[in-house]
């Protein structure tokens, strides 16, 4: 018995070691980006990128945060879109998932087919583009960045998988006590579904926070550019940043501008807030992440 538990321990340690190495390997790319953003530009130009800054400097951040009109505007757009989108997305998703998880709902099968059919067969990019821009006239409005992601079948599937496991008897007995469906939903189902709501809520908010696709398609107005799209434009043209800096009358010399480290600093600033938020909600993930079968 003693030897067996020893052996188990040994395998456990090996697996743990394996995961430590894997985790390190996964982190290296992120460390590189942060390191570049914190390295002095001249050192980058002569020695290239290194995992640990050869010459530490926060100049890139200083410059970006000194003249950040475009950046703050983009933050504002993205934060608004994320908050509004997550709230309504979560509401719609949980309502839908709940009705199709109710075994006694007469139109459950119909509704399931109705919801999932379009994830198998869809109109594709062009009809969607024409609908949003020509018929709903959402082009260059903030709603074009919100509405298209409100209801995702995959999130419904995860939420339904969770709600399937809620004890049906509780719902039934509350119903017999005379509560109506809305009351059951808001006072029973929602509190019981917190892990799934947090998980899906976080997924939805990440989807909004990280989106560049809707901006790329529908936003030309400079004032409505979301964070990730701004980041992409900077990737292709650094002039954008320097133009904005010169308008806020900082003495500015383009040759002196830390374009390499500033790009990476932008990437860190764009990804940063969510990277901080995400580990805080981690503990809900596993219990919230159950993929149920469509047929139930």
């Amino acid at each position: 018995m003693q030897t067996e538990s020893n052996r188990m321990n040994w395998t456990g340690k090996m697996i743990n070691l394996f995961f430590c190495i894997l985790s390190l390997a996964l982190l290296v790319p992120l460390v590189l980006v942060i390191s570049i953003s914190l390295t002095d530009e001249k050192s980058l130009l002569t020695h290239g990128y290194h995992l640990i800054p050869l010459q530490f400097s926060t100049k890139a951040y200083d410059i970006i945060l000194d003249a950040p009109k475009a950046l703050f505007r983009a933050y504002g757009v993205t934060i608004f879109v994320t908050l509004v989108g997550t709230f309504f997305g979560l509401l719609f998703t949980s309502l839908t998932a709940y009705t199709i998880s109710r075994r006694d709902y007469r139109y459950r099968k119909m509704m399931t087919l109705y919801v999932f059919f379009t994830s198998l067969f869809s109109g594709g990019l062009v009809p969607f583009y024409i609908l949003i821009s020509q018929y709903l006239h959402l082009k260059d409005t903030i709603w074009a960045l919100i509405v298209p992601y409100l209801l995702s079948p995959f999130f419904i599937l995860i939420m339904k998988g969770f709600m399937d496991k809620l004890p049906f008897e509780i719902i039934e007995s509350t119903k017999i006590d005379g509560a109506n469906e809305w009351r059951i939903f808001f006072t029973m189902v929602i509190p019981l579904s917190v892990p799934a709501l947090v998980t899906i809520g976080l997924f939805i908010s990440f989807q909004y926070w990280n989106d560049w696709w809707l901006g790329l398609l529908f936003i030309n107005n400079q004032k409505l550019i979301p964070l990730q799209l701004l980041l992409y434009r900077i990737m292709s043209t650094i002039e954008f940043l320097s133009n904005n800096i010169s308008t806020v009358n900082v003495q500015f010399n383009l040759a002196d501008f830390p374009s390499l480290s500033a790009r990476m600093a932008m990437a860190v600033l764009a990804a940063g807030p969510m990277m901080v938020i995400f580990p805080m909600f981690q503990r809900f993930f596993i219990s919230g992440l159950t993929v149920g079968a469509i047929k139930g």
């Binding site: 697996i15 743990n16 995961f19 894997l22 985790s23 996964l26 790319p29 590189l32 980058l44 130009l45 020695h47 290239g48 990128y49 995992l51 509401l91 309502l95 839908t96 009705t99 109710r102 709902y105 007469r106 509704m111 919801v115 379009t118 198998l120 067969f121 869809s122 109109g123 594709g124 990019l125 009809p127 969607f128 024409i130 609908l131 298209p148 409100l150 209801l151 109506n180 469906e181 809305w182 990280n210 560049w212 696709w213 990730q228 980041l231 992409y232 990737m235 292709s236 990476m264 990437a267 764009a270 990804a271 969510m274 990277m275 995400f278 981690q282 596993i286 993929v291 079968a293 047929k295």
Partner: protein, 304 residues
């Protein structure tokens, strides 16, 4: 008959009202665009609209399939997706099973790190890859030079990109699949394992005889969904990681980036719709087919 149905409806009315937001939303944003698919058979003109534009039969399809691009982008899309599906399944399943073997305290740490890249946008990941592959200062070239090798102009050499793209996709995506499988393993009733332990089963036997069979329904669901999407590529991955470099199109262009370019740069609505329809139809047939095959093997594992 109708009266009886009305009675039923009244009993389900409240739940129906609850699902109304989804019904209307799907109707507008997912079902209405299906009508737009007629554009695949029309020569679309903005001033004439969908209905006013001229019918041109299968010309749009012909135009695409006769171009030498059709083969390249279809091949790239399928090969990349097949690679992703197979590698993700094998890696994520292995990692999930291994994750289940280590102590709870450590799982939190590994889980967070595994998952972290998943929460970066493709634009940010594009910057990360650029940090490695940049010709002048990139980490890869710094390393190559440190070992006395010649630096490589990565963004001009198409042959490296299949590896870079697959690696990037795995780095970003495997954590998510791992956690889905891991959640699946956790929901397996522990009494199966206890019984097996009493019978003297080894870890390896438990994995083969309990874990994998009980995960099969989950694996099959994810697999069928993935097969349905085999003609659709992740636009962000193929657009931002090679940074839309035309040198690399032969190795990195997929159906979705090709459609985007022909829509936004050339403005060819008809052909873009035709390609979209081609993606939908083939994907749909593949899902039906794989579900049918699964059903033949084991009724319980099928998607419907």
């Amino acid at each position: 008959m109708l009266q009886r149905e009305w009675k039923h409806f009244k009993r389900n009315r409240e739940l129906f009202v609850m699902s109304l937001p989804a019904i209307l939303y799907k109707l507008i944003f997912n079902y209405l665009p299906l009508i737009g698919l007629v554009l695949a058979f029309k020569q679309y003109r903005f001033d004439l609209g969908i209905w006013g534009s001229k019918w041109i039969g299968l010309k749009n399809f012909e135009f695409f399939f006769k171009s030498d691009k059709a083969f390249t982008v279809t091949r790239n899309t399928i090969l990349y997706n097949l690679t992703f599906i197979i590698l993700t399944l094998v890696l994520a399943l292995t990692l999930a099973i291994l994750l289940n073997e280590i102590s709870r305290r450590w799982i939190k740490v590994h889980q967070t790190i595994l998952f972290l890249p998943y929460f970066l946008s493709w634009v940010v990941v594009g910057y990360v890859v650029f940090g490695f592959m940049d010709h002048k200062n990139g980490f890869m070239n710094v390393m190559l030079q440190a070992f006395g090798e010649q630096p490589i102009r990565w963004y001009e050499q198409a042959q490296f990109w299949p590896f870079i793209i697959v690696l990037t996709q795995l780095w970003k995506g495997v954590g998510f699949s791992t956690l889905i499988y891991y959640a699946g393993i956790l929901s397996i009733d522990s009494s199966y394992y206890e019984a097996a332990k009493i019978d003297g089963a080894s870890k390896w036997q438990m994995i083969r005889k309990i874990t994998i069979p009980l995960l099969t329904p989950l694996i099959v669901i994810l697999l069928i969904v993935a097969i349905g999407g085999i003609f659709r590529a992740d636009f962000g991955l193929f657009y931002f990681i090679p940074n839309d470099t035309s040198f690399l199109y032969n190795a990195t262009d997929v159906i979705d980036t090709y459609v985007y370019r022909s829509l936004r740069i050339v403005g060819d609505f008809g052909m873009s719709t035709a390609i979209g329809l081609y993606q939908s139809v083939v994907g749909f047939i593949l899902v039906l087919l794989s579900n049918w095959v699964v059903k033949k093997i084991n009724e319980d594992n099928s998607l419907w």
